[in-house]
Amino acid sequence: MARQVRAGSVRIQARGNAVALSGGEAVAYAMRQIDPDVVAVYPITPQTVIVEAFSESVAEGKVGTEMIHVESEHAALSACIGAAAAGARAHTATSGPGLALMWEVLGVASGMRLPIVMHLCTRALSAPINIMCDHSDAMAMRDLGWVMLFGENPQEAYDQALIVQRVAEHRDVLLPSVNVIDGFTVTHSVEGVEVLPDEVVASFVGTYSPLYSLLDPQRRVTFGALDPNEYYYEHKRQQIEAMKNALPVVAATLQEFGELTGRHYNLVEEYRTEDAEVVLVVMGSTAGTVRIAVDNLREDGVRAGVVRVRCFRPFPAEEVAQALRRAKLVGVLDRSLSLGAPGSSLYLEVMAALSQRMLSPYLVNVVHGLGGRNTPVRIIKEAFSQLRLMGLEEQRREPILYLGVRE
């Protein structure tokens, strides 16, 4: 149903603008509307969809973007860093091994406080070589000072592309931000995506005015100078503050976006948790599968629920703990490994969030979907039933469940 909402001074028709787009094309659509000054990319599966679609906009003159075809992902992000230091709005996109090659400069982008936007189409890290989705790439950048939002479907790939632009450039944040979408499952799935009119996007993302610019002759500055031991720690302290600030900024931006579009998102999203005894925590495209499993289990009288984490960096510890405060059995779905650790990334962070607040449900790490391993509803229901068995019988308890692997 169509309804009128306000976007700055523009009144728009928020609903009914559905276009058939894959997740990758949806991101490229948003990028065309944002019209970044610079896009530096190196093609890699499954991110290629974005690059192909966006380069058409460049070729057709629909954007003013300087698109730089670089020799590697390290160079792609380095080009974005140079452009952003000059005061440009810069985007890049990558996947798995490409992100791994960016690793050194990921920290440079955030340390220099450059609000670069990245679209990460998740892909398993090699070896063995694999082009399919898991979160091992995204989790490897979790400590490097990027704001990270995990989307679930092509619609969210589009919406988050606009949202991270605003978050990154907020004066209280000024951190690079990444729109994380699952490779293939989202990037290559075509759905009806409700797009906003160009002028509404232009008004929502606004124009970027950098705090410092290499190209401002009135206010000359040096970027990237040596920061000796007398200063490095203080600059890291500033990044801690920026990350802290980012949490309310993400929340407020999601709310503003909801008012604009009718698509209401949160840092953490709960589904049927109000009386749930057994809850799965999830990020990314698996969330939809878990909701269907919960609906099925509810029909059988099982009080199951889902807590979906959208904002992974900064980690909304309070919101996660609040969402889980009533649950007795909690499984945390991780789509990556932290080899040698007592559990994978999301599990350990959920555990810390609960432990800091003296909450102690029975907490299990549920590893799934590595290297694109399919996770159908049946497998998720199996996770729920194993969790419930562990809740009933103490001798069955294990800290980590490897879901869907051939034993």
């Binding site: 340390g111 000024l174 040096t222 920061d227 600059h235």
Partner: protein, 94 residues
């Protein structure tokens, strides 16, 4: 020099004033230092040109010495000196 707290510093370690490196000592991790034999020096300024840290001091067109607060001991000057009148001396021996 007074060290500022994190709230008072520009973010992103951006340097807003030119010449700030003059105020920051960056020679502390040197393990050996260049010493000039002025009896052979012709003041050709090759060392001054090649020094990556602008650590050679000059007055009225003549080389006067090395700024050891900024020299990192890379020894490029030793290699480039056409008169071979700069030698590296281990710091512990000084």
């Amino acid at each position: 020099m007074e060290l500022k707290d994190w709230r008072s510093l520009p973010i992103g370690s951006v340097v807003t004033q030119p010449g700030s490196s003059a105020e920051t000592e960056t020679g502390s991790w040197r393990t050996s230092r260049p010493v000039i034999d002025f009896s052979q020096c012709t003041h050709c300024m090759i060392c001054w040109i090649f020094c990556p840290d602008s650590a050679f001091t000059v007055e009225k067109g003549k080389l006067t010495g090395v700024d050891y607060d900024h020299c990192k001991g890379c020894a490029i000057c030793v290699v480039e000196c056409p008169k071979k009148c700069i030698v590296m001396v281990d710091e512990p021996r000084l």
